[in-house]
Symmetry: C2
Subunit: 676 residues, 2 copies
């Protein structure tokens, strides 16, 4: 029986994927070989995009979850002309465009960075939400599908529960996920760790589930058609696939369905690379080849896609001509620049918590920034994202006219969904929860930073001053932890994350300004639960707070050379101000007080500026409600940091302030001791 | 109709819980009032423990997941006599035994610290596994049940998926979970974020599911009986409860099922505290009272429990007399001391990866430490926990004769399960995965550290030297991040976590010695993927490596005063040794090389010792494959750190070593520049 062109194309992907891994001497061939049939049918018959304009906003998206299956993705994109055979041969090498796990590269068709299992398909949920949000504002003409590809590992990862619940709850009929179910994972067969009925689980979440033979191109096609026709629910296509499909040993016996082919070259795993390639119709001596008829098929598809996209763009042009205001808004939504917003007009109540100040800013955003989506993990009335919510409505199934996303109690899922929204484009994602739960979100923040996505993280209840909720809810090491992401550079050489802990309500306004204007990395706002006395300023408080844009600045400047410099971020600055008053009143000391909302931004200022804020040779005293190390880099060896060295305690925060030495009297005492 | 004693007891719990929150002026009354009926029936009719010996190893365990429902737990335990009315009145106050979220306190009946939703019930899964493990070795006579209590938030948390899958997979018929399903969460009603069919989801995981009216004591009793009789599966009892049950407003109208009662005192939420207490049969003026007949009921139960426990203990005594060897082993399992183990006999291959060295140690443990349970999140053949696995078998349904736990791809769940095993006692839990995934586990490590549990975390693939897998798999900021847990002190004043990054195979043996002997906090081992050249030592390599027990020590000591001190941890020490050779050969420099597996342990040594390792006034050069800040505290302002400031790259690690300057030549160059 002669091979169908579909099977030949899938075999071509299998040959390329196996060869990439074999040549790199590392990587994951088995899964890629099993998923080849699905991606071939998807790319050659279903996925709508514009090969001549890969950034086209209305393209279908394809999110790969198991990043280790990159050889499959690179190979199908190579059939489409986006990678050369040389690119594939350079898989996993220094400077190549084919790193071991895919890194977002829209021009070549890679929509997301993946690797840590589970996050990839959650980004697809985020993209699908963004699409529904935009369609609700501009019309169904711009609708597109979002496809996700998930593996056994992704289904097992905790995060897939959040995605499953949310996509079902929101009835994301624009989301189609293929589950490459090959019953084999890295170290065991899947039935050694799970006997779940995955179809039933997703049905419990309100998904349409279709189960097929995942290497049967006919069944794949039928399932994709059915999924595309679904109008109420997201679709999960469970494809039972064969890991290492086509693999043979040296003596020609079958070597499919082996754990060993998960994560090493076929030869190393016990198969014969040569026999396998020959079995799949390739030339083991020269495997990096696209078969002529496969090339022809993809070229034909390419022409069709360009034509179809051109037709859609023409329709868009007509729509734009008929709807000039909406069209201008759409352009603005997708612009890379931050939206214009006059922060000087934000009126902050004096002496309020920075979470409340953030709420005020968010309420103002709700009036003007129409493409902002704000989310909370069931804490909107505590993290004060409800300032925004009060002016809009939350998403529900079929209704994306509002701009708030209730994520439920699933912090990591929320963060990964934000990443997906940002990847989709057209929207500005913001999410809030308690700062201590930044622990849960770190894996998604890391990917956000790696992908350089302008997601805004709002973290409130920022210190032991949470009070009665006690040590499980009191961040101590978290500020130092998140500031590691400020120290870590991205591949452009920038601080990979902008981390801001404002000292009062006005600084909170400025922190939001910095976060909104930062379109090249994630931003984090670390905010207080409790009220904070405003910093003493002369003149306009907002103008004074604008100095925060330099990362650190002088809040109180004494006449002449200071005797001591006090520095902190967040609510500890106000405590230092109280201490400075005592030092000045009682002992006539000249005290400079410095607020440092972002050490990372401050380090990027000129040396002259840095020296003016922290003059050399003057003793420094730092105060932090976190670990002392949070400030030690700024205070230096000849200064002293008053911090919290242990887990917190359950008690009213004013009691804790006094028990733990976070008041003006203790600042006075500690500074006097230091200077003595 | 007169109130039944069951309802009266539940109302008593409601009164106490609401009063605690009202008096503290903060807290969560609504959920506690809804769950009161269940905990009353559980504690008064089902939970087996010994009120005269709360640490009794064979007691049933009760794990609370929603820690904010602590008023319910404290109140039912107060009925049992474990808290005084004064304790309840001091809820959430400094120094009280009733912190806002429960902190493990077995003597008073609090089995786990909770607060971050989801983790509590996963600890129950860990305890249930530990019980099955012990029963497999000592007999069904010591079997007991493990109960968990979960809320809407816990069901939504991603981690509950891992627990659901694993408990079902292992057929934990000893696990009974009550889901307090009150349809209301912190900021919305539950149907604003979820429409999942929770029963169906748990059935998909192979749980028995019983749905009842959760405030109907008869239905609760029947469900608990049925769950206790179940022999194949864990049981989920979905109790539809009424948030804020009994709450009234000032005009006497119903104030049940209100979001507002989730997280604030009734009075503040819009109810009337006085009317509510009166409605429940209490005296608003003096609500901290246990009704006489309720007291009588609990005293009667107490006597029954003591008698039943005594009978079981007598049976245990007979068993022990008949099985003296097993009995001695059981005592050893539950001893607080580390098991004796002769590490000097562990033979390490020279120049091997520290993950391989760890595997060698684990294989030796498998022969001798019979109560160790080793786990991996689907990476046993990469993280090399398979050294242990090869000598045993993995748990499966009905077979806990082996000692390995395949957790599947769910790192956070695995870590929380380890915490539960440690809380149960009798076993030594160890878990492995890639170091970059420590990001996922941090929330559970934090609770492990707060609860002072001796869990061992094995994290391999510790740096960019992971190589081809690229930036998503290469830890950079993770060492500095985890070492924050070394800096953070627990409430005993100790480093809350022991963090060890050994420099070669022999140090890996010593690191395992330190981890095994550390029974008071979690321990973390950070291990290399790639081979590392052994450190140069004279005499016995293990004896030399024992110096690592001081946290840092001199590996190469020059004659006389050194010109420079080079320091690092992990595989960078061998790179420094290579650099030191060049500095010495080419320039005759006197170079001291220091290995620092644990800065935290080193800081606890005498000043004299610290000064001998890092002599004052001698320039220091540090090298770290992580962020420079990882070593900056040790190197100080007058030294220099060569680190990695950005995300990693996909390429063979030897290529990366050279591109990123991690070789002897660059050490030579950088040190020369520093000294110039």
């Amino acid at each position: 029986m002669s091979k169908s062109i579909e099977v030949k194309a899938a075999d071509n992907i299998r040959i390329l994927a196996a060869s990439m891994v074999e040549k790199a001497k590392s990587g994951h061939p088995g899964g890629a070989m099993g998923g080849a049939d699905f991606v071939h049918i998807l790319y050659s018959e279903f996925l709508n995009y514009d090969p001549s304009d890969m950034n086209w906003a209305n393209r279908d998206r394809f999110f790969l979850d198991p990043g280790h299956m990159s050889p499959m993705l690179y190979s199908v994109l190579a059939l489409g002309g986006f990678y050369s055979m040389e690119d594939l041969a350079n898989f996993r090498q220094w400077g190549s465009v084919t790193p071991g796990h895919p890194e977002v590269d829209v021009a070549r068709g890679v929509e997301n960075t993946s690797g840590p299992l589970g996050q990839g398909h959650v980004m697809a949920v985020g993209a699908a939400i963004a699409e529904r949000f935009l369609v609700a504002r501009f019309g169904e003409w711009m609708a597109h599908k979002t496809y996700a590809f998930i593996s056994d590992g992704g289904v097992q990862e905790e995060i897939s529960q959040g995605a499953g619940r949310i996509a079902g709850f929101l009835g994301l009929n624009n989301l189609i996920m293929f589950y490459d179910s090959n019953d084999i994972q890295l170290s065991t067969e899947t039935d050694a760790v799970s006997l779940e009925d995955t179809a039933k689980k997703y049905e419990a979440w309100n998904w349409k589930v279709i189960t097929i033979e995942g290497n049967d191109v006919g069944q794949i096609r039928t399932a994709l058609k059915e999924a595309n026709a679904e109008t109420e629910r997201p679709t999960l296509i469970i494809g039972k696939t064969i890991m290492g499909k086509g693999a043979l040993t040296a003596d020609g016996s079958n070597f499919e369905r082996k754990c060993a082919t998960h994560g090493m070259p076929l030869g190393e795993a016990g198969a014969s690379f040569e026999k396998t390639i020959a079995n799949l119709g390739g030339n083991p001596e020269n495997p990096f080849v696209i078969f002529d008829d496969v090339k022809e098929l993809y070229e034909k598809r390419k022409a069709e896609l360009i034509k179809a996209a051109a037709a859609k763009k023409a329709a868009q042009g007509e729509w734009a001509a008929a709807n000039p205001e909406l069209a201008a808004k759409l352009v603005k939504f997708f612009a890379k620049e931050a939206p214009a917003f006059d922060f000087s007009k934000v009126e902050q109540k004096a002496n309020t918590a920075t979470r409340a100040a953030s709420s005020t800013v968010l309420a103002a955003f709700a009036d003007e920034i129409e493409n902002m989506i704000v989310s909370s993990a069931d804490l909107s009335n505590s993290d004060k994202t409800d300032g925004f919510l009060k002016k809009t409505t939350a998403f529900t199934k079929g209704d994306f006219s509002g701009s708030f996303f209730q994520a439920g109690v699933s912090e990591l899922t929320m963060a990964a969904i934000m990443n997906g929204m940002a990847l989709h484009g057209g929207v500005i994602p913001v999410c809030g929860t308690f700062f201590v739960f930044s622990d849960y979100m770190k894996p998604a923040l890391r990917l956000s930073a790696l992908m350089e996505l302008p997601v805004k993280f709002v973290w409130t209840h920022d210190a032991f001053r949470v009070g009665e909720d006690g040590p499980t809810h009191q961040p101590v090491e978290q500020e130092a932890q998140i500031r590691l992401m400020e120290k870590l550079k991205n591949h452009k050489g920038h601080n990979s994350t902008l981390v801001l802990r404002p000292a009062d309500a006005n600084e909170a306004t400025v922190a939001w300004k910095m976060a909104l204007e930062n379109t090249s990395t994630p931003s984090a706002l670390i905010l207080s639960r409790q009220n904070i006395k405003n910093l003493p300023v002369e003149g306009d408080a907002y103008q004074a707070a604008l100095q925060a844009e330099k990362g650190a600045y002088v809040v109180i400047k004494p006449e002449g050379t200071p005797d001591v410099v006090l520095l902190a971020s967040g609510s500890e600055v106000a405590t230092l101000v109280a201490g400075a008053e005592l030092l000045s009143e009682r002992d006539g000391l000249k005290v400079q007080v410095v607020s440092v909302p972002s050490e990372g931004v401050f380090r990027a200022q000129t040396k002259d500026y840095q020296d003016s804020v922290l003059p050399l040779g003057i003793p420094r005293f730092g105060m932090t409600a976190g670990l002392p190390v949070t400030l030690e880099g700024l205070v230096g060896e000849n200064g002293k940091v008053w911090g919290l060295e242990s887990f917190g305690f359950s008690a009213p925060y004013t009691v804790l302030d006094n028990k733990l030495g976070f008041n003006g009297e203790n600042v006075y005492k500690q500074v006097k001791q230091m200077l003595a």
